[in-house]
């Protein structure tokens, strides 16, 4: 007979897991979609799908890649459902005004804008690495790429960011 108490505790643990991961999932979705409203919808759908499929998550240690897989699929579905409008970066940065109002915002605003400007092929692995803490192998698995390809994209992403932000790139290596 199913133990309702155990089931309840399991749900509570899963809820806590969702709560702990949600902020970074939302950040990930914003960086991916470059649209806050779309990101919120994607995260909402992701959490719903995750809630319904929570029994398939056998090991909480695997939660991060599990959620990442769901959110990337959900983002792809969103993309299929509707053609996302072209994003005007000036509008985007303006819409993120609350984010840029932090004390260190001036320094970071330029960098955030540069990240948004990166091609998605470079932006996504970089966000997975820096924000989500994924290893190169984990990124390769998520993006279905070789680790060499991931490293190349990460290198290009950083090099492009450094150029966009006026960093001294004279001593940067060639690809």
């Amino acid at each position: 007979m199913r133990d309702p108490l155990a089931g309840n505790q399991k749900h509570a643990r899963f809820q806590a897991l969702c709560q702990s991961l949600r902020p970074d999932l939302l950040r990930f979705a914003i960086w991916l979609s470059r649209d806050r409203a779309v990101a919120e919808d994607v995260v909402q759908e992701t959490l719903l799908r995750a809630w319904k499929a929570q029994d398939t998550l056998e090991d909480e240690k695997a939660a991060k890649p599990w959620f990442l897989t769901i959110i990337r699929r959900e983002y792809a579905r969103t993309f299929e459902r509707k053609r996302l409008a072209t994003v005007n970066l000036d509008d985007l940065v303006a819409s993120e005004e609350p984010a840029l109002a932090a004390s260190d915002a001036e320094d970071l605003a330029e960098l955030r804008r540069a990240i948004f400007e990166l091609p998605e092929d470079y932006r996504e692995p970089l966000v997975l690495q820096v924000l989500m803490g994924c290893t190169t192998a984990e990124i390769a698995a998520q993006l279905n790429l070789s680790t060499a390809a991931v490293l190349t994209r990460l290198f290009r992403a950083r090099r492009q960011l450094r150029l966009l932000c006026g960093e001294d790139t004279n001593l940067d290596p060639d690809e």
Binding site: N8, Q9, A16, P23, D35, A63, R81, A99
Partner: protein, 265 residues
């Protein structure tokens, strides 16, 4: 020269995963060490930039969820679930809501209430409040740059700035502190340090506002750690990504850190 190029290329592609031979090169080559220092500064900025604070506001939903969770009561827990799936705010740029979104929201609300109704009667016994360990682990995800394996210590000035107003001083027994940041954690600024241990980088967070009665071991999301009580001064969280480190070893690291701390009030 090609080693220099390899080292710098690795820093710009996977700064947290440098191979041993490259790390040795970074210590021995002055030009590359200088390059690494600049790269580390850029990496820290990059990590900060990724942490869109708006996401927390976007968790406008999340705020409700957190409040519900903190209350710890059944109804509040159910409200937490509801808040988790219902977005409360939309940007002005999105005046019109796509039909698919409206449909999914209704489904979200319906699913939420179904779940809430089924579990509200029992939720009071399960504590849905995010655990301290869980919050510590969540905080780690935002600062991957902290996990660099390095021999380079932060400057005394940087460390002093982070320790400002913490009412504590670090003695020499701490070891090489390779990362120091004053981070917001549960509404307070707390020192977030990384100490280079023989087992690899070990993160230490001094949580003077968070008390635990007994040591709390945890193993979540690839992080293994312990939170030790510090009578009169909250607690100290110590964690690593090295799964080979056992809780006892982490406890020893935490104890060593605690003994190297001098409380000034």
């Amino acid at each position: 020269m090609s080693v220099c190029a390899d080292y710098r290329r690795a820093l710009l592609s996977d700064p947290g995963g440098l191979k041993e031979e490259l790390r040795i090169h970074g210590r021995e080559c002055a030009d590359c060490a200088a390059f690494a220092e600049r790269a580390a500064r850029f990496e820290a900025r990059l990590a900060s930039a990724m942490q869109l604070p708006a996401a927390a506001a976007g968790a406008g939903a999340g705020a409700g969820a957190g409040a519900g969770a903190d209350a710890g009561a059944g109804a509040a827990g159910a409200a937490g679930v509801a808040a988790e799936v219902v977005p409360l705010r939309r940007s002005a740029a999105h005046g019109g809501v796509p039909p698919s979104t409206i449909r999914s929201r209704w489904f979200a609300v319906a699913a939420t209430f179904a779940v809430a109704a089924a579990t509200a009667g029992l939720l009071w016994i399960a504590v849905p409040r995010a655990s301290l360990a869980g919050d510590v682990v969540s905080h780690m995800a935002g600062e991957p740059a902290a996990w660099r394996v390095t021999d380079a210590a932060v400057t005394p000035a940087e460390l002093r700035e982070v320790m400002l107003n913490t009412h504590m001083r670090l003695g020499s027994g701490v070891g090489v502190v390779s990362y120091a940041s004053s981070c917001e954690f549960r509404g307070h600024r707390v020192p977030h340090l990384v100490v280079q241990d023989e087992s690899g980088p070990v993160t230490v967070m001094v949580l003077v506002h968070e008390s635990v009665k007994t040591p709390v071991d945890f193993d979540e999301q690839s992080y293994r750690g312990v939170i030790l009580p510090v009578p009169g001064h909250g607690s100290i969280a110590v964690l690593t990504r090295n799964q080979a480190v056992d809780p006892a070893a982490l406890g020893r690291i935490a104890a060593r850190f605690e003994s190297a701390v001098e409380w000034t009030s």
